[in-house]
């Protein structure tokens, strides 16, 4: 039995230089063209808030927003992101302070080990931007791609609902 396949010399590949629009800021980044957005964010832009869980698109920890839509950054290439507005957990807090979702996740204990938390936050942010008053059923549907192994599920619902209420009342 034999294992293995033909070699390719990654070291000799040339980096691409691109402007990425991350958290409202246009930044010049140089990275290898086959890198996923997750790798570019974490390794080339030092934005490690977006977590690496499975790299197979199964756990949701690497969720970021691309033009407002939740995407698994481990399944997107960095070079596909030209002109795309990318949002990560590092960009959630506004000048005025943390996003209501961040406040409620922290206050209600929706983060235990915290590894899945950024992914849940990004998915939740996109939900609330489309629907300020989602039902539990909507949340179940939209958050089903995010896994948590410690505790989160119930407190995550509660935190999102509390944040949604805050945001509705704040925008009135």
């Amino acid at each position: 039995m034999t294992q293995g396949s033909a070699p390719a010399a990654a070291e000799t590949r040339r980096k691409v230089h691109m402007q990425l629009l991350v958290n409202g800021e246009a930044q010049e980044v140089a990275f290898l063209p086959h890198k996923t957005l997750l790798e570019v964010l974490r390794e080339d832009m030092q934005l490690t808030g977006t977590k690496h869980g499975c790299e197979l698109g199964e756990c949701g920890t690497c969720t970021v927003l691309m033009d407002g839509e939740p995407m698994l950054s481990c399944l997107v290439l960095g070079i596909e992101c030209d002109g795309v507005e990318i949002e990560t957990v590092e960009g959630m807090a506004t000048g005025a302070g943390p996003h209501p979702l961040q406040t409620w996740f922290a206050d209600l204990g929706a983060a235990q080990c915290g590894y899945c938390t950024p992914g849940f936050l990004m998915t939740a942010k996109s939900i609330l931007e489309r629907d300020p008053n989602p039902s539990r059923e909507d949340l179940v549907e939209e958050l089903s791609g995010n896994l948590c192994r410690c505790t989160g599920y119930l407190k995550i619902y509660e935190a999102i609902e509390a944040a949604a209420k805050d945001m509705r009342e704040g925008s009135q």
Binding site: P7, G49, F105, L147
Partner: protein, 738 residues
């Protein structure tokens, strides 16, 4: 020197006075009903903000200048000899820094490392690993218990090992043969549980960096920061322990599988030494499932006997399970919790060609209680008795007696428990069930917590133990806060670093009760030191300085806030240490808990929906009820996942895992999460100055048993194999169960 203290311990309704010998330096134990300001309240975790802003740094997030990446070629065979390895193409690749190969190695489990590479980038690493050609001489193997038992000597890496409860040897008490003979009611059945992988979201692994002076820093995703750097790692680094700093600032789940440095961590250290660069290696998800640890499976044949009035007289049984290619570890806690005068139990750990099992949240317990509670349900049915009444009749624990009543009330036992199991009309049938849980952990070790205060009033609390997300930081802050009269959120807690006093490994629900009393004492020592400074300032005896509601008071109406008192601290600062001493004689060694579940079973599709779980738990005196509730939620969620979804599937021919991904190895998601009603019963355990016990493990012990019990009540037949997949439910309904 010691003094005697008499105080009230236990639970309201079953309290008891305890007289204990307390070391002179120990704080007076807080009695039942003590008025405490912060202990026992809901305190959001101190690192909550760091976790929701992406600031919290996990091992996976450590990126260093010039950092290289390590990885391994893993064997796809359960049993093989490595005939040859051609790594020439990999070695020739620009960016490859080091290559290791293991020609001639005997592989005894799929996922075993046969070659390793260190490269300048993850991309080069992937290319180099893919370019290594390995030829195997494939040998016969057995990867399941049943296969291994067929021809053990030929196909098992080691002979099986008989164990009772993982401790070795068979277990026998009373007179089981006579009791079986004379039992008025006797049930016999076989229960099975599957192998469950830990599936922490952050993989195992580390980053190792050696500085110019030759000192090493290791960032590790570990449950045992202080004990991480053991023999193999130190030998690889050629350094004494004192020159190896281990850091675990945050870690993304462990559940028992992440203690000391493992082979991949040693590999990182070797490559770091060889290449002169920092090296990072965290396992892939596939390796996590294959070699990252697992809960051994079980086949449990149980016979439970008793009298017609529902009193148990005897339990007899034999079990088999595999913990991989090691010896021991596949025992089941299926003879615990209840009063069983006679027991005969023989437990076998069967060696197979699979990677080793590891401690997994309440080792031996969820599988053991699933079987035992199943036997109890069958016994109650045969005797024509209410299964809850039978449990209560045979339960010796005073706290669980109270908990059964609370749980029954919350789940609506009288209303919702079907008198005739499976009697609902229509295809979707509902039922409720219950199960007990136990654990025993009051903390251990003489750990120390250091505390400093400067003249600005900044309090720093330090211990090397890691916070797995269980809330260790916050717990230490609360214990100190109670003594100093300042809010926990104002305290700066530093953990997860060998620069601080050593802390315990987080296994067996030990961390909280092992560190809490030391933190309380550190707070007490700091309070005494501040009182001494005020005594000098006020020209009075420091013993006349008291702290009430956060304000220091002295004779003649003298008053000082905490901040004002800290203003007296000289430039050198104030530094104290709290140390945990031996445990006292406590109220009850056993931590009690029970859970009730309500399920709906679709008898046409076989799908089980858990609608509600009531979890009633004791963990001694609770320090942070918010964190405690989280622990119980998490325990229940993992328990449901174990009961309904998780199963490591191995291909018997190839010996490899068929489902090493989250797509195919299902862990419970949001859509499956029921309503969880957590009831925490405060019990002053008596074992330490706070009265604490651990809670991590007990919360997951009863869940699978309670769900299976509810399924039985709903459909009228037991599903005796976990996970209770739709196919197994339908097979049970059709009488096709093994």
């Amino acid at each position: 020197m010691a003094r005697k203290v008499t105080y009230l311990a236990g639970i309201e309704g079953a309290e008891r006075e305890l007289t204990v010998e307390v070391h002179d330096l120990d704080a007076d134990p807080w009695p039942l009903g003590a008025k405490l300001k912060y202990v026992g309240t809901e305190v959001p975790r101190l690192d909550g903000v760091a976790k929701v802003t992406g600031v919290a740094q996990f091992t996976q997030d450590v990126n260093l200048d010039k950092m290289a990446y390590a990885g391994e070629v893993i064997a796809p065979h359960a049993h093989a000899v490595v005939k040859s390895i051609d790594a020439s193409a990999a070695r020739a690749m620009p960016g490859v820094l080091a290559v290791r190969t293991s020609e001639g190695k005997r592989v005894t489990y799929a996922g075993s490392s046969v070659a390793a590479v260190c490269a300048t980038s993850r991309e080069v690493l992937a290319d180099a690993l893919a370019a290594i050609r390995v030829e195997y001489d494939v040998q016969p193997h057995a990867v399941t218990v049943e296969e291994a038992l067929k021809d053990e000597v030929r196909v098992s890496p080691r002979r099986s090992n008989d164990t009772a409860g993982g401790r070795g040897g068979a277990m026998r008490r009373g007179n089981p043969d006579a009791a079986l003979e004379s039992a008025e009611v006797k049930v016999e059945a076989e229960y099975r549980t599957a192998i469950q992988t830990h599936s922490a979201l952050e993989p195992h692994g580390s980053v190792v960096s050696i500085d110019k002076e030759g000192n090493a820093t290791v960032w590790a995703s570990t449950q045992a920061t202080s004990g991480f750097a053991g023999g193999r790692l130190l030998r690889a680094l050629e350094l004494p322990r004192g020159r190896v700093r281990v850091i675990t600032e945050h870690m993304g789940g462990g559940f028992g599988a992440k203690f000391g440095a493992q082979s991949w961590d040693v590999l990182c250290a070797e490559f770091a030494k060889e290449t002169g660069r920092p090296v990072k290696y965290l396992l892939t998800r596939r390796s996590e499932h294959l070699v990252g640890g697992n809960r051994p499976d079980s086949i449990q044949k149980l016979t439970l006997g008793g009298t017609k009035d529902g009193t148990f007289t005897v339990l007899a049984g034999e079990t088999w399970g595999t913990s991989g290619n090691g010896r021991g570890g596949a025992g089941c806690a299926n003879f615990m919790g209840y009063t069983l005068p006679s027991v005969r139990m023989l437990q076998h750990t069967v060696s197979t060609f699979t990677a080793r099992g590891a401690a997994f949240r309440a080792p031996r317990h969820p599988q053991g209680f699933f079987a035992l509670e199943g036997a109890i349900d069958a016994f109650a049915a045969k005797a024509g008795l209410d299964p809850l009444a039978v449990r209560m009749k045979n339960d010796p624990h005073p706290v669980r007696q109270i908990q059964w009543k609370i749980g029954a009330e919350r789940i609506g036992w009288k209303r919702n428990h079907r008198k005739v199991a499976g009697s609902d009309k229509g295809p979707v049938k509902r039922g409720v069930g219950c199960a007990a849980g136990r654990w025993s952990q009051a903390g251990r070790g003489n750990w120390s917590v250091d505390l400093t205060i400067d003249s600005s009033g900044h309090v720093i609390v330090m211990n090397g133990a890691q916070d797995l997300g269980t809330g260790t930081r916050t717990l230490l802050a609360i214990c100190v806060a109670e003594e100093l009269g300042i809010p926990p959120a104002t305290i700066d807690v530093r953990v997860g670093d060998t620069r601080y006093p050593p802390g315990p490994g987080s296994g067996g629900s030990t961390t909280a009760p092992s560190l809490g009393p030391a933190a309380r004492e550190a707070g007490l020592r700091a309070r005494e030191a501040l009182a001494a400074l005020l005594g000098v300032e006020w020209k009075t005896d420091s013993e006349k300085v008291t702290l009430e509601d956060g304000v220091f008071k002295g004779p003649g109406g003298k008053k000082a806030t905490f901040q004002e008192a800290c203003g007296l601290i000289p430039d050198e600062g104030l530094r104290v240490r709290g140390t945990r001493r031996r445990n006292y004689d406590g109220y009850n060694r056993e931590t009690a808990g029970c859970q009730f579940a309500e399920v709906a079973v679709d008898t046409e599709t076989g799908v089980i929906t858990v609608e509600r779980v009531v979890a009633v738990h004791d963990a001694g005196r609770l320090v942070n009820t918010m964190a405690s509730r989280s622990q119980v939620n998490g325990g229940v969620i993992q328990g449901i996942s174990f009961a309904l979804y998780e199963e490591r599937q191995l291909d018997e021919n190839l010996g490899d895992m068929v489902n090493p991904t989250f797509d195919t190895y299902k862990i419970m998601g949001m859509a499956d999460c029921p309503q969880i009603d957590v009831v925490l019963t405060t019990v002053v355990s008596g074992f330490n100055s706070i009265g604490m016990m651990g809670l991590g493990e007990p919360a997951t012990v009863p869940t699978a048993g309670a769900i299976a019990s509810a399924v039985y009540n709903a459909i009228g037949v037991q599903v005796r194999q976990l996970p209770m997949t739709p196919a197994r439910v339908l097979a049970a309904l059709e009488g096709r169960q093994q």
